[in-house]
């Protein structure tokens, strides 16, 4: 099954190939493996942050990654769009495949990779520009809009997908920093969705928000899973249990256990998972 995916999707990540429109592929199998880690390790200089991770992330599902601080969960997430490249002295071992292509391969265009793998950060980080310009940013830098008027349509589409259109449609040209924290985070989600990624990575997207905003974000994530592959890192186990289909538990750079969310929370197979989810540490 993986081999078939390789042949179909391999060109997407390569340089100088016109972009397909992922995320909207009607023929996509819901059980496809979108991201696969094979014996994947990562070092910050001499310190090993991830040890021989092996896991599969299915498309149109929500995968939660849980674990105590410093367990490597964010590092793993940021490896999927190679955000760790920005840190000096990072190197990787093993393979991390997106649609069967090793994303750390030599001929992979990291800019194209990041267009296909969107990211939402822990702190809402809208640019100090207008709401419209924030959402349009990805479309502009990637030259994704050909026809005049298309930019406005794509911005509206993204804001609607992020369930924030109705609230802000009358102030699209106000500075994004005038929005509340929860609105800013949904704007950041809209900004990520505007370029139509295949995968959406979320690094504790609700940890800086109040309970009402958190509920809105979770609802949104749940709706988005029909179109995207979502990976969410959270330190909040209730959140992982509420939103995800599959949960992975990381500890000290190792993947301890990965399985269906209900299964992992009710009947973990590893003692350390049980200790963590029952609150004995972490």
């Amino acid at each position: 099954m993986v081999t078939a995916t390789v042949n179909r999707d391999f060109p997407k990540l390569r340089t100088n190939v016109t972009q397909a429109q992922p995320g909207l592929d009607p023929g996509r199998q819901s059980t496809e493996v979108r991201v696969q880690a094979k014996d994947f390790s990562l070092w910050y200089g001499d310190r090993q942050a991830l040890r021989n991770i092996a896991m599969e992330i299915p498309s149109q599902r929500i995968t939660a990654i849980i674990g105590p601080s410093g367990c490597g969960k964010s590092t793993f997430l940021r490896a999927i769009n190679r955000m760790n490249d920005l840190i000096a002295g990072v190197r990787t071992g093993g393979e991390l495949l997106l649609d069967g292509t090793n994303i750390n391969g030599r001929d992979v265009d990291v800019v194209a990779l990041r267009r296909n793998v969107g990211m939402v950060f822990q702190q809402p980080n809208p640019f100090p520009k207008s709401i419209f310009d924030n959402v349009a940013y990805g479309l502009r830098v990637n030259g994704l809009v050909r026809r005049s008027g298309e930019l406005g349509e794509r911005v509206e589409e993204a804001l609607r997908q992020a369930a924030i259109w109705d609230e802000i449609k009358d102030r699209l040209h106000k500075n994004a920093l005038t929005l509340s924290g929860g609105e800013q985070q949904r704007l950041c989600i809209a900004r990520a969705l505007a370029v139509r990624p295949e995968v959406l990575l979320m690094d504790e997207p609700a940890s800086a928000l109040d309970p009402v905003s958190t509920a809105k974000i979770e609802e949104l994530i749940f709706v988005l899973k029909s179109q995207y592959t979502i990976v969410i890192v959270t330190h909040n186990m209730q959140q992982a249990a509420r939103v995800s289909d599959q949960t992975a538990f990381f500890l000290q750079g190792e993947l301890i256990e990965c399985g269906g969310t209900a299964q992992l929370f009710t009947n973990p197979s590893d003692k350390r998972t049980e200790d963590y989810i029952t609150g004995r540490f972490g």
Binding site: M83, Y137, V141, L177, C188
Partner: protein
């Protein structure tokens, strides 16, 4: 008893350091007080807008004000792009462990430490004699056009002098842009240059402008570098082209205080000229503060 000694030593340190700080206030106060006291009453619209007359014992200082302004404007045209490019390289692109980065970083540091008179000699040797004479030989068959002290060479010399100041302040401005903005840009599939030009530079703009204005205000007061490359002793008409010489406020102060045929007669003029020079520099610093405050407000992050 021991406790008492320690406490009084502590008090002594406090007073000593406070005294040192107070001496700064006193020095600045005396400096500004004397200049304002002797200089203020000669300041008039006429003084600011007319040329010196009667062997510089009468008249105004307009050519010097104009020359100084022209110098810093032309200098900025050269130093701003060069400084911004170097700072972008240092801040955004350079591999901090590479020999090239280390070497260029040291070059900037050392350039900042070169005495300003040395820049003057460099300007004379390199810009006037080498570049200027070279242009004359190549374009004018050796007739003197560019191979002599001129506004353009003074501006270039000054640009080299202020380059380290601009680089360092622009670099600080770039570094102060939160990492999260860069990450947001990269995560949307931007290239590095797109992140730099669309996100980092706009956000760093207040800091960059402040740095630029501070560099200009430093240049406005420097005299040594332009002694040999363009400043004129006495030139009542304004420079009209880049190869003209020009009068300069700082140099004019030097002339009035040491080279005047009648030192006593020029003394009141001298204080007023110093007053104008100081006011100009302070004004530029105020401009820098205002720009920073206004743009911070416009770009306020939450």
């Amino acid at each position: 008893m021991i406790g008492f000694k320690r406490a009084s030593f502590d008090q002594g340190t406090r007073w000593l350091t406070a005294l040192a700080a107070a001496s700064i206030i006193v020095i600045l106060g005396i400096l500004l007080g004397i200049i304002t006291y002797y200089g203020w009453h000669r300041i008039s619209w006429e003084f600011l807008t007319s040329a010196p007359t009667h062997g510089m014992t009468e008249g105004g200082i307009f050519p010097a004000v104009f020359g100084t302004a022209a110098l810093v404007v032309i200098m900025s045209v050269f130093v701003a792009p060069a400084g911004v490019l170097v700072a972008i390289y240092f801040s955004e692109y350079a591999d901090r462990t590479s020999w090239f980065y280390q070497l260029s970083r040291q070059a900037v540091n050392n350039l900042a430490g070169v005495p300003s008179i040395v820049f003057g000699l460099f300007g004379l040797g390199f810009f006037v004699q080498f570049v200027g004479k070279g242009i004359d030989r190549a374009m004018y068959g050796g007739t003197l056009h560019y191979g002599q002290p001129a506004l353009i060479w003074a501006a270039l010399t000054m640009a080299v002098l202020t380059l380290p100041v601009v680089i360092v302040s622009v670099e600080e401005a770039l570094q102060s842009v939160p990492r999260s903005f860069r990450e947001a840009s990269y995560a949307l599939g931007s290239t590095k240059s797109q992140a730099v030009f669309r996100v980092v530079l706009p956000h760093a703009m207040p800091g960059m402008l402040t740095g630029a204005v501070l560099a200009v205000s430093r240049a406005a007061g420097e005299v040594a570098p332009i002694l040999f490359v363009g400043a004129a002793y006495y030139l009542p008409q304004l420079p009209t082209k880049l190869t003209d010489q020009f009068m300069h406020l700082g140099y004019h102060v030097f002339i009035l205080s040491t080279q005047s045929p009648d030192v006593d007669a020029t003394k009141p003029l001298l204080f007023s000229t110093v007053f104008v020079l100081l006011a100009l520099t302070f004004l530029l610093n105020v401009v820098a503060v205002v720009i920073r405050a206004r743009m911070r407000w416009a770009h306020r992050s939450v």
